[in-house]
């Protein structure tokens, strides 16, 4: 962008938002160049609107200047979804972080996109309600970001990902118009189309969410196994037997060692893998399901089974599960977390292949994953300063995706495609499939100003793919 049009963009944004809410100093911009993905790119300017009208103003100004707009929540995304790869305006939701309304009788809440996920459940708690999706990042990630990626978390098994919990949206379209949509509207399910669209179709400014009634009983149990395969087979068997758990999470020994050193929640250190099981609902049912799960675990060679005796113990187990990735800092300077999904019966094979891939590339891997959903999260450990290791991680990450696709799975269960996996999208979808998706893109953002370079294969790959259609 040349100096004069840059100055014009800056002046117009300051005019609309006030100079406190527009940042362009190099040290400010640096903070918005990253999310939790490896690559970064500095935006031209950062705008922090306070309401939908200001968001609309930012979109109109950016569109008039022909620069991209990248919406950003907390920047916890793992695939570069909020990295401004083509520069332009980063739209920060740091000032739009309130619960706008909470209708306990009808169990819904309307919130601003910058609200932190955990703060919603906290606001709902006094009414005996909670919010279902709970990504491990829930204490920092925002509802807006969760909506953009269709985030899940351990409890997606029981309560669904964001798309099952978003009932309505207010969004700013590419012309700057503000529209409210609801899943109850007559006509096409635009809410369903926008959730998970990673900021490429519109900028969401309010989100109406379903709240759930807190279960009357919750139990958490931990089974120890000799290896991940045995734990995975237990999960496959539990799913197949129709036992309804609210979470089924596996951690391998690498992860268990790291989290125990950090959290001391009481996971068994001598096991090759642990399975964390949560059941919730009516007290009788919960106890029966837990017994059934404990029996299945034993039948699949569990070395031990322990039920959390108190809410405190339960919370400690969950805190360490959700802090697993962070705890790996003890083992290596850096880690790369992959996200892929396989049919649940294929978990044991997928895990065995992930370990083989890591071995082949000379890398250490830790596995912590949402086993009940078949959603893998292999963590590849490396040192960013070692070029060989960085290359090995890139190749191993790709091989893991290919292996999951071959097992009937896909390349992202909950983190999104973002910048990182856009070329891999063509491994899953053929040119016809991608062309249909691009039709939707053309409806909402024909000029490609909303979060460009994301989801769809990069220029060359995309042209190649579409030429074949």
């Amino acid at each position: 962008m040349d100096a004069s049009s840059g100055a014009e963009l800056r002046e117009r944004l300051i005019g609309a938002l006030g100079d406190k809410n527009v940042r362009f100093a190099a040290e400010d911009l640096a903070a918005y160049a990253y999310d939790a993905y490896a690559e970064s790119s500095v935006p031209f300017i950062v705008a922090a609107p306070s309401d939908a009208r200001q968001v609309s103003a930012v979109v109109r100004i950016a569109a008039a200047c022909g620069v991209p707009i990248v919406a950003r929540g907390a920047g916890t995304g793992l695939c570069g979804g909020s990295v401004p790869t083509s520069g332009g305006v980063v739209l920060s939701f740091s000032r739009m972080n309130r619960v706008l309304s909470l209708d306990a009788a009808n169990r819904r809440a309307t919130v601003q996109p910058g609200l932190i996920n955990f703060d919603l459940s906290r606001a709902a708690e006094p009414f005996g309600l909670f919010f279902g999706p709970d990504p491990s990042s829930q204490k920092i990630s925002t509802i807006g970001g969760n909506t953009a990626t269709n985030a899940g978390g351990p409890h997606a098994l029981a309560y669904g990902s964001m798309s099952a919990n978003v009932l309505g949206l207010e969004y700013v379209d590419s012309l700057g118009d503000i529209t409210r949509i609801s899943v109850d509207d007559a006509g096409y399910d635009l809410v369903g189309a926008l959730v998970g669209s990673e900021g490429t179709l519109g900028i969401v400014t309010a989100i109406e969410l379903r709240l759930l009634r807190a279960p009357r009983a919750i139990r958490v149990g931990v089974a120890a196994f000799e290896n991940v395969e045995a734990a995975s087979e237990t999960v496959s068997a539990a799913i197949g037997a129709g036992i309804r758990a609210t979470a089924l999470e596996i951690m391998d020994s690498t992860i268990v060692q790291a989290v125990e050193a950090h959290y001391h929640a009481g996971f068994p250190l001598d096991a090759g893998a642990v399975l964390l099981v949560e059941t919730a609902g009516e007290p009788d049912d919960v106890a029966a399901s837990e017994r059934a799960l404990a029996t299945l675990a034993r039948e699949h060679g569990a070395l031990s089974w322990r039920s959390a005796g108190s809410a405190r113990e339960r919370d400690a187990l969950w805190a360490s599960r959700k802090g697993a990735a962070g705890a790996l800092g003890r083992l290596a300077p850096n880690y790369y977390i992959q996200d892929a999904t396989v049919p649940r019966t294929r978990l044991p094979q997928a895990i065995a292949q992930v370990e083989a891939i890591a071995r082949e590339h000379g890398l250490r891997v830790g596995n912590v994953f949402h086993a009940g959903d078949g959603n893998l999260h292999p963590l590849l450990l490396f040192d960013r300063r070692e070029r060989r290791e960085v290359e090995a991680v890139v190749h191993a990450g790709h091989d893991i995706l290919v292996c999951c696709i071959e097992l009937g799975g896909t390349i992202s269960g909950e983190h999104g495609i973002g910048y990182e996996k856009r070329d891999a999208l063509a491994l899953v979808f053929n040119p016809n499939d991608l062309a249909a998706m691009l039709r939707l893109r053309d409806v909402f953002d024909p000029r490609r100003l909303f979060n460009p370079d994301k989801i769809f294969p990069s220029g060359a790959v995309c042209a190649e793919v579409l030429a074949a259609s």
């Binding site: 209708d103 007559a186 399910d189 129709g242 049919p343 019966t345 939707l440 989801i455």
Partner: protein, 422 residues
């Protein structure tokens, strides 16, 4: 097998329009070729599953060809241990239910006339059943789709895994699109284990008990799978009707939780002045299907049915609005109020066919204030063109039009049938 009757255009009326031709392709390829050909020759298509929800939507502006999808009906993949199944869109709900039941699983799609209704038609019609507050809507169970688009090409979205954020979730757009963006040909679902126990509870409501009874049922701590307040429908739905109608509650779960729920329900109804609750434990599925069938059941050509959706908290005011407007238009009213989801189903009728049309047309005009969002579920063909099939238009109509233009630029697929005459 396709009989001559199954391809006779006179059985494919929409309003007072009939297609020139009816086709029943037996493969996705054949369906694709047909659509491509129609698109090239600007012939308007309406897709048919079992025809059970064809009462939805406007009468199309043009209607040249009906395409039945019912012969494309195989179960494609079912690894029951994964709790996922892929079926072709022409598979009936009953056939899907049987395939799942063989492995102790089910899908709470809860659409009427399950032995005729197809998976594709039910989903394209955007059907929402009474158990969705307990288990989720059809959109929550669909994990992948393939559609034949207007140009005859096949495009898939989603996959065979239960958690998937790979690419745009186009399946959501096809659900409820009434065949205006493409024809569903394959649907992948995640499934559920069948609950151990099912029980239906029927309670006639003595005079003056309705308000409290509904409030108490809504507040049950053990949430039922479905809870309905029914008034009328005495031929279609079981249970003795009281002066204030009847409450019907479906309980599903373990034997112990169903027992506890029954005790709680009885005491909640008792304290609302409802003394009698009859329990049904055998053939519960059959009895429940009869209830769902009533949603679109017509009384020959002398009734029409509307659905009003909204918050559970304002279902009763919407029910009351139906009573008011029906009374002023001299229409008999029967209702099913869904206490959990907030849906109100209203069937309006007259004693003779002759009286219906004018009264219904004035009802349709009068209800636009109090019941703006109500949609037509079923109406006699002769009246359809005069009713506002979709109710209030959404704020995003312009975007919807743009979407239609992208997916069906020649307006081949049911032109004029959809919201805002899209």
């Amino acid at each position: 097998m396709t009989t001559a009757r199954a391809l006779d255009p006179k059985h494919f009326a929409l309003g007072e329009r009939f297609p020139e031709a009816v086709h029943a392709p037996d493969s996705v390829e054949a369906l694709g070729a047909l659509v491509r050909d129609c698109n090239a020759r600007q012939r308007a298509i309406v897709f048919f599953g079992g025809g059970t929800l064809q009462g939805l939507g406007h009468v199309p502006e043009r209607y040249d060809v009906a395409i039945r999808v019912g012969r494309i009906n195989r179960v494609l993949e079912y690894d029951h241990r994964d709790l996922t199944i892929a079926v072709e869109a022409g598979c009936t709900l009953a056939a899907l239910g049987r395939a799942l039941a063989a492995h102790g699983q089910f899908l709470p799609l809860d659409a009427p006339r399950s032995s005729q209704a197809t998976v594709g038609g039910t989903l394209a019609g955007g059907w929402l059943g009474p158990r969705r507050s307990a288990y989720g809507s059809p959109r929550d169970f669909v994990i992948g789709t393939s559609v034949v688009l207007a140009d005859g090409s096949v495009a898939k979205a989603g996959g065979m895994v239960v958690k998937n954020v790979t690419g745009y979730d186009l399946s959501k757009l096809y659900l409820g699109s009434l065949g205006t963006l493409g024809a569903l040909v394959r649907v992948n679902f995640k499934t559920l284990p069948i609950p151990q126990t099912r029980r239906l509870a029927f309670a006639p409501l003595p005079e003056g008990t309705r308000g409290r009874a509904l409030k108490h049922v809504a507040a049950l701590s053990i949430e039922p799978a479905a809870a309905l307040a029914v008034s009328g429908f005495s031929k279609e739905i079981d249970g003795t009707e009281g002066p204030d109608g009847r409450v019907i509650v479906l309980l599903e779960g373990s034997p112990r939780s169903v027992e506890s729920a029954t005790r709680e329900l009885r005491s909640a109804l008792g304290s609302a002045g409802v003394p009698e609750t009859r329990l049904v434990d055998s053939d519960v599925e059959v009895a429940f299907e009869r209830i769902v069938d009533a949603y679109v059941a017509s009384l020959g050509a002398r009734s029409a049915t509307y659905r009003s959706g909204g918050l559970p908290g304002d279902a009763t005011p919407r029910s009351d609005a139906f009573v008011r407007v029906a009374q002023s238009c001299k229409l008999k009213l029967e209702t099913i109020e869904d206490i959990r989801s907030g849906d109100v189903i209203a069937r309006l009728s007259t004693a003779t066919t002759r009286d219906l049309e004018e009264r219904l047309v004035s009802f349709d005009a009068e209800r636009r204030t109090a019941l703006a969002g109500a949609r037509v579920l079923a109406a006699p063909q002769a009246v359809r063109a005069r009713l506002d099939a979709w109710g209030a238009l959404p704020a995003s109509l312009a975007t919807m039009r743009a979407l239609k233009a992208q997916f069906d630029p020649n307006c081949t697929l049911a032109p004029g049938r959809y919201v805002g005459r899209i």
